[in-house]
Amino acid sequence: MATPSIDSMGAPAPQVAVQEKKHRTLSDRGLVNLFIWPTLIILIAFNVFPLLYSLFLSFTDYSAIIVAAPEWVGFENFGRVLASEKLWESFSITGRYVFLSVGLELVLGFGLALLLREQFRGSGFVTTLILIPMMLSPVIVGLFWKLMYNPSFGYLNYLIGFSNPATAPDWLASRWAGEPMPGLALWAVVIVDAWMWTPFMALLIYSGLKAIPDYLYEAAVIDRASSWFQFRRITLPQVMPLLLIAVLFRTIEAFSKSFDLIMGMTGGGPAGQTEVLPIRIYQQAFLGQFQTGRSSAFAYMVLILVIAISSLYIRSLNKAKEG
């Protein structure tokens, strides 16, 4: 681990230095291993091993609350999961949730970023303030918004102008003035997600905007380019890499963190209208019959999807770092 004989170096003649360097890199190898392997081992023990284990379980009929040993059932679990109508419903809910929240955050975030471009006294303070929601615990945010959305004593309806509870929307029950309005609960969840994460999106885009060299705009002004042209041909392409990172990052996060937020707000209800994939897996694996085998199969399908999005994300991250 320690590098020996550096003390003997005295005045390093070039040749000696080369030799020493060779020596040092060799023991450096040991040091690197010592530094990196503890992390890798713990990750393998807690990420790779469990995933292999659940791959095995996904081919069995195992249930965590039944003493019987897991019995091999082949692809039955996968077949059943794929055949279940609720799965596709859950997929589409998740898709809509992610698409709507990331889309909303992107549009609002871009607008906010353009506003933030103007520095003013105290703008640093204001930008810090708007980041508060994103640092809160999503489940607690969810709980909290449940109170905001409450049809009788919640603030939201009053703030947006519905002062009579009888004609106001009951967001989390997907009802509007007593009439069922499917999709309202999903929108309610999307709004909270956007509340938490729009400032994040804005700040990311803003840091991209800041990096655009002024001379590009100066040149455009000299050429008498319209501001729309400037936006389309300079601003947009220049922030594109960062935009992509932001969108992919939020897509992944919306996907995995939706669990906390939605559990806090609706628990998947009403009637499964906000039952995103992680919640569905949770219910299968940890509630009722503890269908461990089948939920493992289910989890694996989601896993593949997330890995696909993640690798896109990492690729764009690396590209942005090089460029």
């Binding site: 681990m1 590098t3 550096i6 170096m9 450096d28 690197v32 530094f35 890798l40 713990i42 990750l43 807690f46 990420n47 091993f49 469990p50 995933l51 284990y53 379980l57 965590a64 506003l115 003013f120 810090t128 303030l129 508060i132 929601p133 640092m135 615990s137 999503p138 489940v139 607690i140 909290f144 109170l147 905001m148 009788s152 004593f153 603030y155 703030l159 509870p165 509340w195 994040f200 700040l203 990311l204 840091s207 002024d214 705009y217 100066e218 002004v221 008498r224 990052f249 995995s256 669990f259 906390d260 559990m263 806090g264 992680p278 694996a285 493992s296 989601v302 890995i307 690396n318 942005a320």
Partner: protein, 332 residues
């Protein structure tokens, strides 16, 4: 586009003046934008303000229709959150009221609701669990992460990009996906519902954050410092902890804080891997809703207890905030 020949060379000069000097019209735009930003900030903070208010509302004020903005602040929420109480009636209530002068603040608040405090609530234990687990996991993940980050930053590690991706990928999976096998594993090993088990899970969960973040910070420290130290006779390890660690102190502090917040806020793992002994505050606050009457003010008070440390951190760390959230991808 207008060509140069048409307009002559004089036009670009006036145009460039427009770029450099702000016209009154532009200044007005600037003010409008600033006002808009402030309005957005206020709108975004309304729910936080509502939460603060609710934490100090009495039970009846919370459910008042229409919602009250002006109300008499009480500590009811806090008392409900932190204590177990029993209802007093008839004589016992009269007697307690007669002796009200000797009571402490919390007891008096409880008495106003006709209740007697029997002892501290479970929530204090949950909070203690949260603190133990957050600090334990943060210490472990920052220490391990610091070593690994240094290794990745300073040396040619074969397949470094793949390994770094592997480290990050664990973080991106929905917690529920990895938790099923970990749950079974923990049951076998006796780690289910233990502090150690939760510390281990969160250490792993946070390693991706600490490695990536710290690698970024260490990358920014010039290699020359260590090289000079090596020439002076330091060993690599000495150079690491005498030169690199102090230089990276800000980065380490920022990473520590982010790791603490992530664990502090985490819900899914805690929900699935604990039940009683090691249960942390977020799932405990969430289940408070289920039990009996919904005590919104208690929930708001619990949220407030959660919010304050986070607020302090946000302001202390605001320069590193974006970096922390994006795993070091974005340097603000």
């Amino acid at each position: 586009m207008s060509s140069f020949e048409e307009t002559g060379p004089s036009t670009p000069v006036t145009e460039s003046i427009r770029v450099d000097k702000v016209k009154p019209q532009a200044r007005l735009g600037k003010r409008v934008r600033a006002i808009l930003v402030i309005i957005v900030a206020i709108v975004l903070l309304v729910p936080v303000a509502v939460m603060l208010m609710t934490a100090f509302k009495s039970r009846s004020d919370v459910v008042a229709i229409p919602p009250k903005v002006i109300f008499e602040p009480t500590l009811e929420g806090l008392v409900f959150l932190l204590t177990e109480r029993s209802q007093l009636s008839g004589e016992a209530l009269e007697e307690a009221k007669a002796n009200a002068d000797d009571l402490g603040l919390f007891e008096r608040v409880a008495l106003d609701n006709g209740q007697r405090i029997n002892g501290p609530s479970d929530f204090l234990r949950r909070l203690r669990n949260s603190i133990i687990i957050a600090f334990g996991a943060t210490f472990a993940s920052v220490t391990l992460g610091l070593f690994a980050a240094y290794g990745f930053s300073r040396f040619e590690v074969p397949g470094a990009n793949d390994l770094l991706f592997f480290i990050l990928s664990g973080r991106m999976l929905p917690a529920v996906v990895v938790t099923i096998p970990i749950f079974l594993m923990y049951r076998q090993l006796g780690l289910y519902d233990t502090h150690l088990g939760m510390i281990l899970v969160y250490t792993v969960f946070n390693l991706s954050l600490t490695v990536w973040l710290l690698k970024g910070f260490i990358d920014e420290i010039p290699k020359e410092y260590e090289e000079a130290a090596l020439v002076d006779g330091y060993t690599r390890f000495q150079a690491f902890y005498k030169i690199v660690v102090p230089q990276a102190a800000t980065g380490i502090a920022a990473t520590t804080v982010f790791s603490l917040i992530f664990v502090w806020n985490e819900y899914a793992f805690a929900l699935m891997l604990t039940s009683e002994d090691a249960r942390t505050a977020p799932p405990a606050i969430a289940t408070m809703l289920g039990r009996g009457g919904i005590e919104w003010s208690a929930i708001a008070a619990g949220t407030l207890a959660f919010l304050i440390p986070v607020l302090i951190v946000i302001f202390a760390m605001r320069r590193h905030l974006l970096r922390g959230v994006t795993f070091g991808a974005i340097r603000q």
